[in-house]
């Protein structure tokens, strides 16, 4: 079967293969994408500098993490897409096993069981792995079938996505669960899933919303949604985060209060200022201009990523790369929307800006894959 795949993808239609081969091409690097990513990372580090409020150790740790992330980016780019294709089912299966392990042996942090720990060595969230594994698996499933996918294949894809999403939702980690599902779903969208179907599904979910509200959402999740509409109903409890983050952003104005001048963050009014709410620090200290600049760079990364994906030499590569780009966007949107009070609070970090290692490394691995599918031609 793999052999057949290989033969089928070795096609004469690859126009990119005829392009001149530059040094970075041989190194499987896209300088524009790497440059844009570096702009975001450096910019993020500047804001983080303020958010860590003098905690040098944290800051150094984050810089080390980015060093690792760059290595991961380069390495991921060197691996031919064919290998990704071949390991996709394996990664998915391993990911599922790890998720099951989390369910039984996971470590609880702040009330949800998300982590696997090998004591003394490290601990990590298998759900992060699934953010890559699910789109890989869906792309793997679809690449050998004619596109747009039929209803049957669509259903199979939904199964591939839903299973891990449910496991992650049980941890409970609704945010990641939705992101994982969304990553798989973006593959389907890019593969040509009928818009009509999407529309119907949307209507069906809307119709089922009351049932979801009643039976799926936990009490605290319902509270978060309610808080979104009326943060003042519980200003010291659930509404606190939203009130303080919108206050921080709004008080920044056009140009902000100046770097290191954010009273909301440095007086501890802003919760999670280093991690999920870091965009509020940016908004307070650098203002509208600061946030608009960030969103612009994100947009450029997305545009470049989609273009690179479209240049891939295989269906698998295109779908996978495109899905990574869209997932990246979903991160950005959900995080900024949450912090600015348009979406309920879910634990989603701001890509390449928030403090934390797992997310940064996963994302950079994704961008490595995108560069890989663009630059590996002869397979």
């Amino acid at each position: 079967m793999i052999q057949a795949d290989f033969q089928r993808t070795l096609s004469p239609y690859d126009s990119a293969a005829t392009k001149p081969s530059r040094w970075y091409f041989r190194l499987h690097i896209d300088p524009i994408l790497v440059g844009l990513l570096t702009v975001v990372i450096v910019y993020g580090l500047v804001v983080l500098r303020s958010a860590v409020d003098g905690n040098e150790a944290l800051y150094t740790a984050q810089i080390q993490r980015y060093a690792i992330a760059y290595v991961v980016l380069i390495v991921a780019a060197q691996i031919p897409p064919n290998l990704y294709l071949r390991i996709s089912p394996l990664v998915y299966v391993v990911g599922m096993i790890l998720l099951l392990l989390v369910l039984f042996f996971g470590v609880s942090v702040k009330g949800s069981q998300r982590w696997l720990e090998i004591p003394g060595l490290f601990r990590f969230q298998p759900s992060e792995l699934m953010k890559l594994a699910v789109p890989m698996a869906v792309a793997w499933y679809l690449q050998k079938r004619s596109l747009p996918p039929s209803l049957k294949y669509t259903a199979a894809c939904l199964g591939i996505m839903t299973l891990p999403a449910l496991l992650i939702g049980r941890q409970p980690d609704l945010g990641t669960s939705i992101l994982v599902f969304g990553a798989g779903f973006s593959v389907l969208l890019l593969a040509g899933l009928s818009w009509r179907l999407v529309l119907w599904a949307g209507l069906a979910i809307s119709a089922a919303a009351p049932l979801i509200w009643q039976f799926v959402l936990e009490g605290y999740q319902r509270q978060r949604v309610l808080t979104l509409f009326d943060p003042q109903s519980d200003p010291l409890g659930a509404g606190w985060n939203i009130i303080q983050s919108t206050t921080a952003i709004g008080s920044g104005g056009l140009f902000g209060k100046g770097l290191f001048q954010g009273s909301q963050s440095y007086l501890d009014f802003l919760p999670e200022a280093r991690t999920d709410f870091i965009v509020a620090v940016m908004g307070e200290e650098l203002g509208f201009v600061g946030i608009a600049f960030l969103l612009l760079i994100y947009l450029l990364i997305i545009a470049r990523g989609l273009w690179l994906a479209s240049q891939a030499g295989s269906t698998f590569g295109r779908l996978l790369a495109g899905a990574f780009v869209l997932t990246f966007f979903v991160y950005v949107f959900v995080n900024v929307a949450m912090v600015s009070g348009i979406l309920p609070v879910v634990g989603v970090p701001l890509p390449l800006v928030s403090y934390g290692g797992t997310s940064a490394i996963t994302l950079m691995a994704g961008f490595g894959v995108i560069m890989s599918v663009r630059t590996h031609k002869a397979w």
Partner: protein, 641 residues
């Protein structure tokens, strides 16, 4: 599951992908547009709202309580100062679960039940949930340490250092200086709420109450930046409070001590005045209380015993205790008799121990009367009637003076009214007259009422402070002075500050200078006339006059509390504690140029000469000793020059 055998059309799939990617990219742009729109909404269109909300978050305007003015005695010793105390304050708004936190604080600090309920009461009556509210007044060092360690668990708690009132002499000067109490809602309706917005205590008694406006000062403000837990980070702008003005009193803490010591635990009062200006040199009321309790809080047991004790320690006997003056009233009657031509210094009567109004059977007795002995002081003139304290002489004299004339004359000594300049709610005693009696008792004035008034009994009542004014007026040979606590504000006066204050002096014109000197001589005999054999000595001589090295004038008084039936003897043993006689002594010294005049009252103490006179002697001794050493020091200085 075999894949469908359809030939994959790579070109078509690329086109499909590009189409999808383009569509989704447009969607991405739209969604990012939504975010940008949201940012515009927050950062530009509603910027002002969020800006002020952010400032409200961080900037707290605090009012700063002015330091209360200090109170000094005449020698510059502190009677009331302010001490640093670490207190626990709460910002209720910053506490997620106030009741739970209070519980936790209670067990962390090992507070007593009283302290806990006090804490809860203060939280419940809190005026400003966004400002720190002191709930525990004085923390021990250990409590401060415990709070510091557990601070992260207790958002909204702060240890604040503030100045609280402290009375170094505690009970000794309690009734004279007064005390502060925690500001109540009722107080807030009376005072300027802005000026008192940071103030916790308000003067409630004595000098503290009367000079509240002077002592309080003016409120200050501070703009401060505080963090999410309500902790102060930095001060942005300060307008310092203006401290209250310091008060310098006439009070001499040494005399105060002398009075307390001399009373030796007995209930009673001592009021000593500077006769030249009415300055209150000593104001003792025993039993007293520790005014510091009202600042730092007291247990229910302590408060209970203070407020319900039958000895009423919170009651200021010196200014509000009203007692029949007894024989200390006799000098006034005597002078009235002279002034109204009812008697002369040479007129004598025969005192056989009892007096009867014409046509009445009731016997008015001499103080020395017993069943076996009629008492009686023999042949007495006014001078002897004073130093022997003859009752019969004054029964007779008073019965012959028109009552209204006697009352009008007595009123000029300040009886029946509150003469004080700066003593809050001092009692005015009672100077009865026919109008009063008709109104209060519905009875006409009987001749017997005049007879009783002749020896300071009947309905006549006076406070120790009023009797001290009487003593001062006698010392001044008729010049009335108003009692006053305050000697000066802020800057201590150079020199003695003992100049007379003529503006408040009223002369008693019906009596000549010679008459005053004669009365003073008679009063001097009370103390100094000795070794004269049976019924020849001054009443107080045996108790205080034998080893005295300065000249003192005085008059004893023994006031009956309950009426003793005709033919019955006064027997201390059979009377209950509160029915026994009150002992009075009024005195001044030195006889020429007096510098101290005082009244001593010992409640249910017994005889005025035996019980009250030694107290008076002790206080005047202390005063004279100081005056002497001062004189010596001044002479030494002169010699050195």
């Amino acid at each position: 599951m075999a894949p469908e055998l359809s030939i994959k059309d790579q070109n078509r799939e690329v086109e499909l992908f590009v189409g999808r990617a383009t569509t989704l990219f447009v969607l991405v742009v739209l969604m990012l547009g939504l975010l940008v729109y949201r940012m515009l909404e927050l950062q530009l269109w509603n910027h002002d709202t969020y800006k002020s909300r952010s400032d409200d978050n961080r900037i707290r305007v605090q009012t700063l309580a002015p330091p209360r003015g200090l109170i000094f005695d005449r020698n510059g010793r502190l009677l009331a100062d302010n001490q640093n105390a670490s207190s626990l304050a709460l910002v209720i708004d910053k506490m997620p679960e106030p009741s739970e936190s209070l519980e936790r604080i209670g067990s962390l600090l090992e507070l007593t039940n009283t302290q806990r309920s006090e804490m809860i009461a203060r939280v419940e009556s809190n005026r400003r949930p966004d400002a720190p509210l002191v709930v525990v007044d004085s923390l021990t060092e250990e409590q401060v340490a415990r709070l510091a360690v557990n601070r992260h668990l207790l958002p909204g708690t702060e240890v604040v250092n503030r100045l609280v009132r402290h009375y170094p002499y505690a009970e000794i000067a309690a009734h004279a200086v007064g005390s502060v109490r925690r500001l109540s809602d009722e107080d807030l309706r009376r005072v300027d709420p802005v000026q008192y917005s940071a103030t916790e205590f308000i003067g409630k008694r004595g000098v503290e109450a009367f000079y509240e406006d002077t002592l309080h000062g003016r409120v200050g403000y501070q703009k401060a930046e505080s963090d999410a837990l309500g902790r102060l980070r930095q001060t942005l702008d300060v307008q310092s409070p203006t401290a209250g003005k310091d008060l310098y009193l006439h009070l001499d803490i040494d005399l105060q001590f002398a009075g307390v010591t001399a009373l030796a635990g007995r209930r009673g009062a001592v009021v000593a005045l500077d006769p030249r200006n009415g300055g209150v040199l000593a104001m003792v009321s025993q039993p007293a209380y520790d005014p510091n309790f009202f600042v730092t809080g007291m247990s229910e047991a302590v408060f209970g015993s203070l407020s319900t004790s039958k000895y009423v320690p919170l009651f200021n006997r010196a200014t509000n205790g009203q007692y029949a003056p007894g024989s200390t009233f006799k000098p006034i009657v005597g002078l009235a008799g002279i002034g109204l031509n009812a008697t002369t210094w040479d007129t004598v009567i025969e005192d056989r121990g009892a007096f009867q109004l014409p046509g009445q059977e009731r016997e008015y007795r001499d103080w020395a009367w017993t069943k076996d002995n009629s008492g009686g002081q023999g042949t007495v003139d006014l001078r002897r009637a004073i130093y022997r304290s003859s009752n019969v002489y004054f029964y007779d004299l008073a019965s012959r003076i028109p009552v209204q004339d006697l009352v009008d004359f007595a009123a000029q000594f300040g009886l029946g009214r509150d003469m004080s300049v700066d003593i809050p709610s001092a009692g005015s005693g009672l100077l009865p007259d026919p109008v009063w009696k008709q109104g209060a008792k519905g009875l006409p004035w009987f001749p017997g009422d005049s007879v009783n008034m002749g020896i300071g009994q009947g309905d006549l009542l006076a406070t120790p402070l009023q009797m001290a004014v009487v003593a001062a007026t006698l010392a001044n040979r008729g010049r009335l002075v108003q009692p006053r606590m305050m000697r000066g504000i802020d800057a201590p006066k150079s020199g003695d500050g003992e100049s007379s204050l003529p503006s408040t002096q009223i002369a008693l014109e019906q009596v000549s200078t010679q008459d005053w000197e004669s009365m003073v001589a008679a009063l001097e005999d009370v103390v100094h006339r000795g070794n004269q054999g049976f019924r020849g000595n001054g009443t107080a001589w045996a108790y205080i006059g034998q080893d005295i090295d300065y000249r003192m004038a005085g008059k004893s008084g023994t006031a009956q509390v309950v009426e003793i039936s005709q033919g019955e003897e006064y027997d201390e043993e059979t009377l209950s504690e509160f029915d026994r006689k009150h002992a009075w002594f009024i005195a001044f010294a030195p006889v020429e140029n007096p510098t101290i005049a005082l009244a001593v009252l010992v409640e249910n103490g017994g005889g005025g000469s035996s019980v009250a006179a030694p107290v008076a002697r002790a206080v005047i001794d202390a005063h004279m000793q100081k005056a002497e050493s001062k004189k010596v020091a001044q002479q030494e200085m002169l010699v050195q020059r």
